[in-house]
Structure formats: C-alpha cells, structure tokens
C-alpha cells in the first residue's frame, strides 16, 4: 500500500506521521510537496499537522489554496482514503472537502494533553476496525481546534453518519463534542487529535492498542 504525506510550508507533524506509517506499520510512504502534482498510484493520502503558512489568516486557509489541493480533490472523488490530522483537518475544511469550521478553543489558548475519543462511526477507511462507542486514548495539541457547524448542518451530518469521533469530555467547546468528521461518502476523514502520537507503546501512557486501530483500519483497506 502506498501512502502520500502532503507537506506544506510549516507542516510539522509530517516526519512523525512518516515514521508511524513506514516504520511502525510498514507501509510505502512518500512525501508530496504542496507545489507538485500527486502521484497517480497513491492508495491513501495524509495531510499532517503543523502550522501551514504560520496559521496566517486562519488555520489552513492559505494551504487550502495550494496547487496540490486540486489533486487531493480529484483523489477524494476517486474514493481514495484521505486523512487530515489537526492542521490537515483544518485544511480539508478550508478546502471545502469537509463540512463545518474550526475556531479558537474556548480557553483562547493552545492546549496540549491526553484525552479520550468515542468512536461514532466505523464506516470510514480509518475507523473500520473499531466498534461504535469504543473509547480511544489520544493526545490533542491545537489552538484552533473547536469544531463548529450550525444546527442544520449538524442534523444533516448526523443523518449522513458523518460524525466520526466525539470527545469523551467537553475539552474545547466543540459543537456536539465533535473531534472528527467525514465527507458524505466517508473516504475523507478529518480529526483534531493526533493518532500518530499514540501509535507506539513507549509514547502512549495509556498503553497502545486501541489508538493504532486508526492505522490498522487503513492497512486493512488494501487487503
């Protein structure tokens, strides 16, 4: 399975994601610079976390206008699994591939720490190995991570099974405690927490296991 990690100026979780996909899960991984076309043969795409363009204007707003996004959109239409983590999620939202918006946390500051997710949908290529309602320990690190969508959009998302993860607790004021969403088709997933920071036992104070299912689900897509 060949996965592309899209790198923007200011991406800073690209190397962590590479390590997890390549060294922990043994996938073939390639970095894709934002100004180049995406290779045609990718089986999956990850937009990693960071501060693309220094979060100027709004987090993800400038990166969403990068040349590579046109290819990401084409791949999305071809049902290629696409995961946006943290800044990657913000970019997918700004690019219009996912609904809603990400606003400043209600604490008005950056927050870094471990929390718990509850899986709400197991129909996506990144959650197929979970059961609905399963709890996942995971770290968050962001300052514009408060998911927002208006009441009608939320209803629509609920109806379409687009809410993928919720926080177990009120961590930052997100609408409906939403931590991750997908498109209507389910192949494009965005999430604020960082699964790549929880995929090895040594760096996961809660032990590993459940969090890795996000990547194991992706590996399962190929088989």
């Amino acid at each position: 399975m060949r996965v592309g990690i899209v790198v923007f100026p200011g991406s800073n979780c690209d190397r962590d994601m590479y390590h997890v996909l390549a060294d922990v899960f043994g996938l073939e991984v390639t970095y894709c610079w934002h100004e180049h076309n995406l290779p045609d043969d990718l089986d999956g795409i990850v937009l990693p976390g960071g501060f693309s363009y220094g979060d100027r204007l709004r987090a993800g707003a400038i990166a969403a206008r990068s040349p590579v996004i046109a290819d990401v959109k084409k791949m999305a239409q071809r049902s290629v699994p696409i995961l946006g983590v943290c800044n990657g999620f913000q970019i997918l939202v700004e690019a219009g591939l996912l609904p809603g918006a990400l606003l400043k946390n209600d604490s008005l500051s950056f927050m870094c720490g471990w929390t718990e997710l509850i899986v709400n949908s197991s129909r996506t290529p990144f959650t197929s190995k979970f059961s609905k309602g399963q709890r996942v320990p995971i770290p968050v690190a962001n300052s514009e991570g408060r998911y927002y969508a208006d009441a009608d959009t939320l209803k629509e998302m609920e109806r379409n099974d687009q809410i993928v993860f919720r926080y177990g607790d009120h961590v930052n004021g997100s609408s409906d405690k939403i931590a991750g969403v997908c498109n209507v088709e389910g192949n494009v997933v965005g999430m604020m927490p960082h699964p790549e920071r929880a995929a090895e036992p040594e760096i996961n104070p809660a032990g590993t296991g459940t969090t890795s299912l996000i990547f194991e689900s992706l590996c399962g897509v190929a088989s």
Binding site: R15, F51, G54, C112
Partner: protein, 721 residues
C-alpha cells in the same frame, strides 16, 4: 543619526585606537560597540568562566560552535545551548520571549543538528499582588508557546518562579537541545574565495542596538531594541538549512543573534582564522533607507550566515527558492583576517576580525556585600498544627502545579517524549535506543542568602531531578544572571556562585558544555537576586517509567534533613523572612545518594522516585499523593535529621529523595542503603484519602482531593485573577 547610541566606554575607544593604530571610522565604531558590549563580549566574566570544567569523555569540541556537543553513542550527538532574553521580555514579553526561543534554536541549527526539545526557565514579580507581573507572565508563556509550537519543537520542561526582586522585570531563559549524526555536524571551515551568504528574514530596524540595550540596566523602555518574532520563517529556515546540510552545501554557519552581522562576521572570521569582505548593499533589507551602521547592528530575527563555495551556490539558492526564503550573497572570504565592510566601492570598515571579536577583558573588583550581614535574624515559633501552613504552601505561586503553563506548550510533537512535563525531569527517546533526560533549575532565594551554596545547591537539585527519572547527569549548561558587574558587591555574588558551580562540577565530574552570562539585570528599584540557572542533560540506556502509587506502598526517605531554612518557601512565603542558613551541599553525600538511587532504579526495585526540594518533605510527600490521588500515613520521626519540627517538615536540605516502594522490595532496598551507608528512614505507607504526616507529636491531616484541587488550579486562578 538614527542609529543606536554608542556604548564604547572612553577607555575602550582609546584601546581600539591603539590596537588599530588610527581613529576608527563611524561604521567601525558601531561594529565594535555592538561586539564589545557585555552581552556579546563577556568582557567582565570571561576570565573567570575558565573555572568551570569544560572537558569530559563525552564532550566533543569544534571551533565556531554556538552550542555544546555531547557524544550520545552509536555515532549520534546531542547539541545543547541556553540563552536568555530578559531585557526584551521585560519591555515586550510576548515578542521578547518568542524571539528568545528563536535565537537559541538557531544556535542548535548552526551545528547542523535538528532541534528536538526546548526548556524554559521563567521569573517574574509577585503575581498574587501585581497585575503587571501577571501580564508579563501570561504574555511570555504565550510567546514561547506560539513560537515553539509553530516550529514543531516540543517544549518538554521548564520551571517558573515568582519573587519581588523581579518586579517590573522578567527573566526568560530558554534552553534548546538538538540531535543528529556525528558525521552530519557542520565542520566549520572556509577558504579564500568562498561566498558569504545571508539567509532568511529581512534585515530591518528592529532590535538595533539590542546587545547594548541588554548591557545596561533597564531604565527606559526601548521598544525599537526588541526584535519581532516570525516562527513561520524560522521553521522554513530550519528545513532549508537541514536540507542544505544534507546536500553538503555548508562550509561554515553561524546564527545571527546579539550584535547582528557585526557579531556573526567578526566571530566567524576570528574562529576560522579568515577574513571577510562584505557589501551592505547586498543585504536584503526590510526598509530601503537603512544606513550601513543600522544594517551591521540590526538584530532582526530568523537569519543565518552561511559560508558556501561557488560550485554549491546554485544548489543552495534552489533550496531557498523551494522554501521561499531570501538568500543573498553578501560577500566573500579573504585570507587576510580583516573584516572589511563596504557599500559598493566605498570601504566603510577595514579592521582585524580578531580585534572586533576580542574585547579587552576586565578584571573587576569584588567585595562581600553588606546585605549578607543585615538579613532578617527572626526565627518563627514552633506551633502544633501545620496543616493550614501546608495547604497555603501547596497553593503558593512557587509550589502550585505548573500544568497551566505546560499544557499551553506542545510537548508531544516529534514523538520522542516518553516522560512528560510535570515530573522531576522529562525524558526523550533517541534514535540509537538510548534516552535523554532534561531539566532546568534555579534558586535565587537560596542564592541571595548564600550565593556559593545556593548555586551549588541548584546544580545538585537539577542533578537529583535527572536521577529521579533514572538517568545519569552527562553535561551541564549554566546561565549566570546578575545585576551590574560594576557594583563590586554584585560582582562578588557572581564570583561566589561561579565557585560553587565549578567546585560541584569538578567533584561530580559533570562538564559544562555551554553557557551564557547575563549581567545588568536591574531596574531603578535595584538588581535582581543572583540567579544562576542550570540545565542538566542526562543519559540512560533503559527507560524508567514511574508507576502510580497504590494502596500499601511504602515511603522511604533518603538523605538527611537539616535545620537549613534560609531562602525556603516556608521562611519567605509564610513568614516573610529573608535570612537564615541556606541549604548546603555536601558533595560526597550527594554522590553517594545519587549512585544509590540510580542502582535501586537499575535493579527495578522502586515504583517511583521524587526529589525533595521547594517546601521540603511535607510538600514532596503531598506531591506524591496528589499526582497518584492517594493518601498516606507517614511519620517523620525515623527519617534522618536532627532538626526542629518545622524544619523537618519544610527545610529544603539537599541530597534527599523519596522512594515509593512495593512491600516486597523493601528489604532489598534497605540492605542496599545500609551497605552503602546512606542515611534513610522508613516513613510509612500510602493509602486512604487523607494525607497524614506525623512528626514530633504534631500531625498534618489533609484530604488529598482538597489539596489536589487547590494545588492544580492555583496558578491558573492567580493569572486570570
């Protein structure tokens, strides 16, 4: 003239004239004034810094490095450096603190290594009473968070302290650590005809005269001397430089910090024994009408000086194009060791680099300060119930949980962090399978009461922190922060602190791998307390992860508690007493206890180890209870020490450790400690919901939940009012 005021002393101008045999030009005077400032030249401190041991089996020294280098084994190296940004942070705390991070990160990058961790040590006035101090604190934390987080370099540790001596002032110290392959270190070298390239942000009018600003007491707010942060450009520079290093395009490299181009050019030329011919017209500037003196002394951030060869230039330019950062060829290397600055054909300065880079060193007079004889001699009365006092200490600004600070820092990015902030030290995993423990520490309250013992004590405490996570101290960074060295009494405290550090470093065989001196930390209200800060890097082959304390675990207290209450939180915060006897380090005991603890950890005999420092045994025991959410029934009557009741509870004596032990391992630990002749005591057990600490017939009795709530929320409450 719009440029900074000259701070060449009249004697220095004479000195310069005699060294170059003529009257210097205006440009030369500005260059030399920037480079001969205390901040850049270390002229007051340099001859004394030799006292610190700089060599050791793991130390790698190369010419022209701004950071220290340690051998991490298997062909890998660790680089480390410490910097402060005190004056700027006192005026503009957000930008001052942010650019403080940026500067030290570039020092790590200069060696060719990727920065992997940041630690910060912060000091402000009393936030419980002073709104301005609160603002300084809050803004400095935001500045560090926004800069470090954006770079994707985890801020894994640090410490914060509040004291009235920092009122209207701030100490912002940042240590940074890098990691890489030894073979990838930049071997600074250059030859005639090589090109001098300035890479990164534009040179502007920010930070002009910054090094002189930092070399004087803070009397007026000079905002134009404060640099403007841009972490996004810094991130691009990091990636561009690492790519250029990977392609072997860098002959030599130096970051631009204090003194700007004046400092970078003269110091690089001096270290590499070359000359440089630089044209200020080639420097990419933010404003068009900057004069040569402004260009030479601007401290605009996010800039690197790179020496490359003609054949490599195009490849370097391509990398810069990819990352969209500016890159100007500003001159070339010569063989004549001259620093030649021109504007087109017009030569503005032509002066030996060695003269610029080496100010005449001063041997300043010192005198034991009078304040030491005039300190408060009161002794607080012994009372029966210390429960309320412990409660107050746990919520005091200097002891309360630091989670409000470190939760704003991304301490996970890079996925190396295996022991996170909040414990005695943080631990990162390295690519060679080893572990790196990091901590940073200072204790100005102790240092004020006794500069020599206070400095050695803070060094020992930092080592204890490293030992608590199972690592051996491998190297030390020191940052010596004092008031004006021209005051002999202050200079005496500097020399005493240095002696204390040097003596402990020699006995424990911990080399100083880098450091910094920051003087003139004064406001019109007076100088700061002596604030030497120590960062320790420790290495471990095996990861020791503390386990949660559970019902039935025993507490063993290791080390002697003495009646050393000077500078303690109990004296200063509870009783407002500044005076008394400050804790002293006995190096032999320090070494013995440290080795015993490390062997106990290596033997897998202990669940967790905690250092006993601020607030003494009562606070250290409470911290163990609060972090695990469990009570205790302890009695200190059998713990070693012959001190009065309040000292047994709150004295900050050194070389003490708290061991949390499962009952089955207790005998093995006790026999090891007896064999090593280490003083220890069985202090009781954990369990229940109440923290009970008995001593000399008195009893502290406090609910864990209540204590935990106060301790964990206090700092946030103080900041938000």
């Amino acid at each position: 003239m719009r440029c900074c005021k000259l701070s060449l002393e009249p004697g220095e101008l004479e000195n310069l004239k005699s060294r170059i045999g003529r009257m210097p030009t205006r440009t030369e005077m500005h260059i030399v004034a920037a480079e001969w400032s205390e901040h850049c030249s270390y002229k007051s401190s340099k001859m004394h810094l030799k006292k610190l041991p700089m060599k050791g089996p793991l130390v790698i020294s190369e010419k022209g490095y701004d950071s220290g280098v340690l051998d991490a084994g298997n062909g890998y190296v660790i680089t480390a450096h410490i910097e402060s940004h005190n004056h700027p942070s006192a005026v503009e705390p957000y930008g001052g603190a942010a650019t403080g991070v940026g500067g030290v990160i570039r020092d790590i990058l200069s060696a060719g290594t990727r920065p992997i961790a940041i630690l910060d040590g912060l000091r402000f006035g009393d936030i419980s009473t002073d709104m301005h101090s609160r603002w300084l604190f809050k803004s400095a934390v935001s500045g560090i968070a926004d800069y470090g987080n954006c770079l994707g370099i985890p801020t894994v540790g640090g410490e914060v302290e509040f004291d009235e001596c920092y009122q209207n002032y701030a100490l912002v110290d940042v240590a940074a650590v890098g990691f890489g392959k030894r073979a990838d270190l930049v071997r600074n070298h250059a030859q005639k005809g090589d090109l001098v390239v300035l890479l990164g942000g534009m040179t502007g009018r920010d930070g002009i005269g910054g090094s002189q600003f930092a070399s004087d007491s803070l009397e007026s707010e000079n905002r134009s001397a404060v640099q403007i942060p841009d972490p996004f450009i810094e991130k691009l520079i990091i990636e561009a430089v690492i790519e250029a290093r990977r392609q072997n395009l860098i002959h030599a490299m130096k970051d631009l910090g204090g003194g700007g181009l004046s400092c970078a050019i003269s110091e690089t030329a001096d270290a590499l024994e070359i000359g440089m011919d630089v044209d200020v017209k080639m420097v990419h500037t933010r404003e068009q009408d900057m004069n040569p003196e402004e260009i030479m002394t601007s401290e605009s951030q996010e800039r690197m000086l790179i020496i490359t060869g003609q054949p490599e230039l195009e490849l370097l330019q391509n990398i810069c194009k990819k990352f969209r950062i500016s890159c100007s060829v500003i001159g070339h290397v010569t063989a004549d060791r001259q620093m030649r600055i021109r504007r087109g054909q017009e030569i503005l300065a032509d002066i030996p680099a060695g003269v610029v880079a080496n100010a005449s060193l001063l041997d300043l007079p010192s005198k034991r300060p009078q304040y030491l004889d005039e300190m408060d001699k009161r002794v607080p009365e012994q009372i029966n119930n210390y429960t309320e006092i412990l409660e107050r200490l746990l919520t005091s600004p200097n002891i309360a949980s630091r989670a409000w600070v470190y939760n704003q820092y991304d301490h996970e990015v890079g996925i190396r962090t295996v022991v996170r902030p909040g414990l005695d030290a943080s631990v990162l995993r390295l690519d060679n399978g080893r572990y790196l423990a990091l901590t940073i520490d200072a204790n100005p309250k102790h240092c004020h009461v006794n500069p020599r013992q206070g400095a050695a004590g803070c060094f020992e405490e930092a080592c204890r922190n490293i030992v608590c996570v199972g690592a051996r101290p491998a190297g030390m960074l020191d940052h010596l922060q004092f008031g004006s060295p021209e005051n002999p009494e202050i200079f005496w405290t500097f020399l005493e602190s240095l002696e204390g550090l040097a003596e402990y470093a020699k006995i424990l065989e911990i080399p100083c791998i880098g450091g910094k001196v920051s003087l003139y930390n004064e406001t019109p209200a007076g100088p700061i307390k002596p604030t030497p800060m120590i960062a320790i890097l420790g290495l471990a082959d095996k990861l020791f992860v503390a386990q949660k304390t559970s019902e039935g675990d025993s507490l063993i207290v290791l080390g002697d508690t003495k009646n050393e209450m000077g500078g303690s939180e109990y004296y200063e915060y509870i009783h407002k007493i500044t005076g008394g006897t400050c804790p002293a380090v006995d190096s032999a005991t320090s070494k013995k206890n440290m080795n015993a603890v490390l062997d106990i950890i290596d033997g897998g005999l202990v669940k967790s180890v905690h250092d006993c420092s601020k607030g003494g045994l009562a606070v250290a025991i409470s911290e163990l209870c609060m972090t695990s959410g469990i009570g205790c029934s302890t009695n200190l009557d059998d713990t070693p020490g012959d001190a009065p009741l309040d000292a047994m509870l709150f004295s900050e004596s050194h070389s003490r450790y708290l061991l949390v032990v499962e009952p089955k391992n207790k005998d093995a630990i006790i026999s090891l400690l007896k064999e090593r002749r280490v003083f220890f005591g069985d202090a009781g057990r954990f369990g229940g919901k109440k923290m009970r600490i008995e001593c000399k017939g008195s009893m502290i009795d406090l609910s864990v939940d209540k204590a935990q709530k106060g301790w964990s929320s206090s700092l946030g409450r103080l900041v938000h009012g």
